[in-house]
């Protein structure tokens, strides 16, 4: 293995997907790091107003990866951080076709451009634990070396497998570039807005009957820390990024104070498909696969290599619940109050019965 540490942090960093929640925050953190001279944000869309303030120190180039293929070399980029990976189709921006275009074709073109960039020495790619697929013969805990046993049904999971395939090709062609692939568990925080956070924010949440998936989350701040460290330090390889511990789906629903509505898997799939067509859907095959099989990863490699332990799944989820208290019908406080009331009631009745005797 070649050592890169002598070179220090890269001076020019290109970040893709800065119009999105994670991309904008990563770019902003990198721009605030004095060791990095220049941060360039690459995105075919303008960042929304809510993210614009984060991106003041970031030089924005509004272009897709194809148009920017020359730019990466011209700018003298030493590191490319690829975060333009969409987790779910966005009906307002072209749906699934656009999602695939961005995820798969976008990655292919970006990596082709990166391959021709002479000064490039670091590549960081956002991946997902969906890369492990979903099969009934899967081990309970995935390590980075676990191969997926079946091609997943979900669009996002298939895109992730394609993206990782392109990164493998890139590693073969440019072995001297340190390529870091980060497989993130679903991101969660008090402000993050993802398919899963919207799911847990509903008062009634559909679940799969007869299944109780094991879930893991990673807090957005920890994801940002890991992404930042992969850019300024050298950690080539593939790493699972997740909070230790497990929450069952039913347990997460209860902790969030929501009501679970168990539906048979087939019914849930068709209901989700109809809802998606109506434009109100939030659940896709990716989520159904997750809810049937669950997904737990081993993060020992991350902790050892990065010297950083993300906060646990339980803590990350607790922070999310704290921010979404409103609209929850069944809180822990109310349950405790009900418990006290019932207990006192029973005691009064029994005391009265004893008194009569």
């Amino acid at each position: 293995m070649v050592t890169y540490s002598a070179a220090g942090p890269p001076r020019v960093v290109v970040v893709t997907g800065v119009s999105r929640f994670l991309g904008a925050r990563v770019a902003s953190r990198l721009a605030a790091d004095p060791r990095i001279e220049r941060v360039i944000g690459l995105d075919p869309l303008d960042p929304p107003a809510t993210l614009a303030s984060l991106l003041e120190d970031v030089q924005l180039i509004r272009a897709d990866a194809r148009a920017a293929s020359g730019a990466i070399d011209d700018l003298g980029a030493e590191a490319v951080v690829h975060l333009a990976v969409a987790g779910a189709p966005d009906p307002q921006h072209g749906g699934r076709a656009a999602m695939k275009e961005q995820n798969v074709i976008g990655t292919m073109q970006l990596l082709a451009a990166a391959q021709g960039a002479g000064r490039l020495r670091k590549l960081v790619v956002r991946s997902s634990t969906a890369a492990y697929g979903a099969s009934f013969r899967d081990p309970a805990v995935f390590t980075e070396d676990t191969e997926p046993r079946a091609v997943p049904r979900g669009a996002f999971a298939r895109d992730i497998l394609n993206i990782e395939g392109y990164v493998r090709g890139f590693r073969r062609r440019r072995p001297e570039v340190a390529a870091t692939v980060l497989r993130f568990a679903p991101l969660i925080s008090s402000t993050a807005d993802t398919t899963l956070t919207r799911y847990f924010a509903q008062p009634f949440v559909p679940t799969v009957f007869g299944r109780d998936a094991r879930l893991q989350f990673v807090h957005v701040d920890d994801a940002l820390e890991v992404l930042h460290r992969s850019v300024v330090e050298d950690h080539p390889g593939t790493f699972n990024v997740a909070g230790a511990g497990v929450l069952l789906l039913s347990q997460a629903v209860r902790r969030a104070g929501r009501f679970a509505v168990p539906l048979p898997e087939g019914t849930l799939s068709s209901v989700a498909a109809v809802a998606r067509n109506l434009g109100v859907g939030q659940i896709g095959l990716d989520q159904i696969d997750l809810f049937v099989h669950g997904r737990v990863v081993d993060t020992a490699r991350l902790v050892k290599e990065f010297g950083f332990t993300p906060r646990t799944t339980e803590t990350a989820f607790a922070e999310f619940i704290e921010a979404h208290r409103s609209g929850s019908p069944l809180t822990a406080d109310r349950l405790a109050a009900a418990e006290t009331a019932i207990l006192d009631g029973i005691r009064r009745v029994r005391a009265a019965a004893r008194g009569e005797k």
Partner: protein, 330 residues
């Protein structure tokens, strides 16, 4: 909350008020490790010397319900829900274990008090009740309160509800990564290498061990240097005696066998009631493997060890059968 310490005294089922060791029993209104949340709930409690047993039971039951409804419990990476298993699953299985099968256990001192272990048993009985009874046996007779983590066929994890219950009771898919992870974590892992060949065999073949597969369980033990504890289970063969196996129907339904027993399918759901055979379970002395770790991938070592385990179980089965002349006796 640390479930290791606090879940036992808070079970809804009053397990052992009279028998729980402790010098203060009979005088204190609260057990020493009572739920802290309950302390605030008893402001106007009369200062009576007698323990109000029912008050404690109700309080515990309600606290348990509240914890379950609020999601305030913990599960491990495999989905094992310790609290639910001890409070709900084991008490239900104990009825079968004690009253129905009148199970007797021998050699439980051969199971280590701490650290990992691989418990390898013979499999029989059409439905895998022997695996469940073995876990109750270990839970009830072992002095160190150990749970057995079963390895199940992937068929179990395909079926809705069953998959959920199996994971919550501590089982996981029979594969080497899971077995090795559990054993390195110091868990006792239970495995039945005969698989469906064992539970689906006919009554005529009872107590004849079937093939042990490729010995994957041995290589998992060798990789982690975990001792192997063979265990012989007598009694499961008689609970649903398979007279015939309708293979074409089984293939049609996608299950490994379709049993015809004296009661199934003739009596419908009543055919699912197991016959009340007498059960004997014997744990054999552990076979150490720590010195063989470098041979984990040597097929000859693996095969010989698997054979040794198989012979031990078969011999123990014969000696147990001599202790039990009548399968349905007391």
């Amino acid at each position: 909350m640390n479930p290791e310490e606090s879940y036992r005294p808070t079970l809804p089922v009053e397990l052992a008020d009279g028998v729980r060791p402790g010098p203060l029993n009979g005088r204190r209104p609260e057990s020493p490790v009572a739920m802290p949340a309950l302390d605030g709930h008893r402001p106007g409690e009369p200062k009576s010397d007698a323990i109000d047993v029912w008050d404690r039971r109700i309080a515990r039951g309600l606290a348990f319900l509240r914890r379950r409804l609020a999601g305030g419990y913990e599960v491990d990476d495999f989905g094992f829900d310790r609290e639910l298993t001890d409070a709900i699953f084991y008490p239900m299985l104990r009825v079968l274990y004690k009253d129905w099968f009148r199970t007797e256990v021998f050699g439980v001192e051969n199971v280590p008090d701490t650290g990992g272990g691989l418990i390898v048993g013979n499999h029989s009985g059409t439905l895998a009740l022997d695996a469940l009874m073995l876990s109750v046996a270990l839970r009830d007779t072992h002095p160190s309160d150990r749970h057995m983590r079963l390895l199940g066929a992937d068929l179990v994890f395909r079926v809705p509800v069953l998959a959920e219950l199996a994971r919550k009771a501590g089982a996981t898919v029979a594969c080497n990564p899971d077995a090795e992870r559990l054993m390195s974590g110091g868990e006792l892992v239970g495995v039945f290498p005969e698989g469906f060949k064992g539970i689906g065999k006919r009554y005529a073949d009872r107590y004849k061990l079937q093939r042990f597969g490729r010995g994957g369980f041995v290589s998992a033990a060798l990789h982690t240097g975990t001792p192997i504890i063979p265990v012989a289970i007598v009694g499961a063969e008689e609970i649903y005696p398979i007279l015939a196996d309708l293979k074409p129907l089984a293939r049609l339904l996608g299950i490994p066998y379709f049993p015809i027993t004296p009661t199934f399918p003739w009596l419908g759901p009543l055919g699912l009631v197991p016959l009340p055979s007498k059960w004997l379970i014997e744990f054999c002395p552990p076979i150490p493997t720590a010195h063989l770790t470098e041979h984990a991938d040597d097929p000859l070592v693996v095969y010989n060890l698997a054979d040794q385990v198989r012979e031990t179980i078969q011999a123990t089965l014969h000696s147990l059968l001599e202790k039990r002349p009548d399968p349905f006796g007391l």
